[in-house]
Amino acid sequence: MQGAWWALGIAVASIAALAYYAFVVLPARIHRWRCEGLRAFARLIELRTQGRYGKAEPLAELASAVALRLGIPLYERRRMELAVYLRDIGMVAIPYHILNKPTPLTPAERDLMARHTEIGASITEQIPGLWHVAPLVRLHHVVYSEQPDAPLAAHLLSALEDWIRVAESADADTAASMLKQGAGARYHPVVVQAILSEVRQRTLDGVQSLTRSAALWL
């Protein structure tokens, strides 16, 4: 009788291990593989705009960390990560001389630039396995006061991308105060809170300046 229980235990354990592999490990691997494929799109935009747009790695890494803090479920986190790589893909349709204009853009040109979210979403919708990412591509510059109902992940991308841009061009403190000022108006207040605490945590953890680490990433 003792032997039978042992056998049963081993059988159950090995079945559990197999199931874990097939339903946890493999899907994660597929997701990684998928991100690697989409990285080409991000890199394309990055090269086309000489590094001004499309940079994905720092945003992907920070966004996942903040999303974890916000309790965004795994499925949504993965969707968000795909959106990070695809978000600026609409810029393939924006003329090169506007993307790379050394002087400030005219209002008309700025309008055209703002259409990259819409164009990107319509490109994404046409790719069979990626249609579910299109809403996030469309909303990755969402303004909280205009569309408070947008997915939390979209609010997160919108705020975080602005944060990274300011933190790189100025410093992390300026970026943080910009987020605080915009909380409730341009940015989702909950998202702003989460980003700020994530950043504070990292500073405490000894990451001296995220600006530097973001620069190292590239």
């Binding site: 494929g37 080409a40 799109f41």
Partner: protein, 426 residues
């Protein structure tokens, strides 16, 4: 449909009578419960994804049904299959909003298939086989074969009638994957049989769980393949719209490049990669200023300088995509020439990978016959005829083109032309 239904019910009634006195009833109930649960829980996947959603489904239940037929007798198998298809089908109606009518049709088909399989297996191998024998494996294989043949034929007829497709085509689609499926299902069926024989319904549980994991791995492998092609297709789409190729340039170049690679004796998966690399060889142009790419007249030296960056830019785009790593160097080097006059590095002869040499020849040839943007045509201004282009190819062999590749490619083009002429009747 009515005939099908009547036949199926008749088989069920015929099978039902001796079943009631049998001693396996409790065990059978357990097996049925498990099989139905498995059938519902598993996402069934279509054998041929490009085919309609009502296509053939490889389900877990088939190997189990065959195992039950051999262990308990064909009557049990028929009833089990009826239960599975009806119950699981009804549940999927709610889960996946399929039509109830199809559940009935599916059940009838399964019952008849199980009956045929049972009859065939018992007729050839008899009843009461010992589990650990070659005969048992043979009986399983035969049972699966008959089941899938009958089911495939019935389903094909139904699909052909319902969707107005030609029966022969549907049948071919169905039968194509038959050997592979039987090969896959026989071991599972054997395991199920052994487990049933030794432990009854509980044993089946032990077989199903690993099967489920295995199947999941299968689905994900297919998914991975799909993602791979999806990435390449999407990138190809971007290349196509970035650059004003005349119709079909990329397709022609890819097709010819693969053909040449095959002739040069490269292994099949390498040839597929050559096809994809040829499709994406101008990926770098998506990064360039489209005012240069679209410029109708001759380019200035500075503009040429920009254009000459595209092989390396293409490689740069794919830098972080490990599964495309093999094609990166081919893309980066597709404008190198064997005489060292190419760009970006001016490599010579064997320093250039064979695949890059193939793409260079094919791309240049298609440009000669007018597939390239007007401003980037090489020394000649008007598109050449096929013969002129072939002559050009021969002249350039050893200088601009790899002689061996050029020779193989000339052959490929000649064959292509004969084929085209034969088809158009010219």
């Amino acid at each position: 449909m009515l005939v099908l239904g009547a036949a199926a019910v008749a088989v069920l009634m015929h099978a039902g009578a001796p079943l009631l006195q049998a001693q396996f009833l409790a065990s059978f109930a357990g097996v049925a419960l498990l099989a139905v649960a498995a059938e519902v829980l598993l996402i069934r996947y279509p054998l041929r994804p490009e085919y309609s959603d009502r296509g053939i489904w490889l389900s877990v239940s088939t190997p189990i049904v065959i195992a039950v037929i051999l262990v308990y007798g064909w009557q049990y198998g028929v009833w089990l299959d009826a239960l599975i298809t009806l119950l699981a089908g009804t549940v999927t109606v709610y889960l996946r909003s399929t039509r109830l009518r199809w559940v009935a049709v599916n059940s009838f088909q399964s019952i008849l298939s199980a009956w045929a399989a049972g009859i065939a297996a018992t007729a050839v191998f008899g009843v009461g086989l010992s589990v650990w024998s070659l005969h048992a494996v043979g009986a399983l294989g035969l049972g699966l074969l008959v089941y899938m043949l009958v089911n495939g034929a019935l389903v094909s007829v139904t699909v052909a009638l319902a969707e107005g497709v030609r029966l022969r085509w549907v049948l071919a689609q169905t039968l194509l994957s038959l050997p592979r499926d039987i090969l896959l299902m026989t071991p599972i069926s054997f395991l199920a049989m052994a487990a049933l024989h030794a432990y009854g319904a509980m044993g089946l549980l032990g077989v199903l769980a690993p099967y489920l994991a295995l199947r999941q791995a299968f689905v994900l492998a297919a998914r991975q393949q799909e993602l791979y092609h999806q990435t390449i297709r999407s990138l190809g789409f971007l290349v196509q719209r970035a650059h004003p190729y005349t119709g079909g340039h990329l397709q022609r170049v890819s097709m010819w490049a693969r053909r040449v690679a095959e002739r040069m004796g490269l292994p099949p998966e390498r040839c597929e990669l050559v096809y994809e690399a040829a499709l994406l060889h101008d990926l770098g142009k998506t990064v360039l200023d489209e005012r240069i790419l679209n410029k109708p007249d001759r380019l200035t030296p500075e503009e040429w300088e920009e254009i000459r960056k595209h092989p390396q830019l293409g490689a740069e785009i794919l830098r972080d995509t490990p599964f495309l790593a093999p094609i990166i160097s081919w893309i980066a080097l597709h404008h190198e020439r064997p005489d060292g006059a190419g760009y970006p590095f001016g490599l010579k002869g064997d320093q250039i990978p064979l695949e890059a040499r193939v793409i260079a020849v094919v791309d240049a040839f298609d440009a000669m016959i007018g597939g390239e943007a007007p401003n980037q045509r090489r020394p000649h201004k008007r598109p050449l005829s096929l013969d002129e282009a072939l002559a050009e190819l021969e002249q350039g062999a050893g200088k601009q083109f790899d002689p061996q590749v050029a020779a193989v490619f000339r052959q490929v083009v000649r064959e292509w032309r004969t084929h085209r002429e034969a088809r158009t009747g010219a």
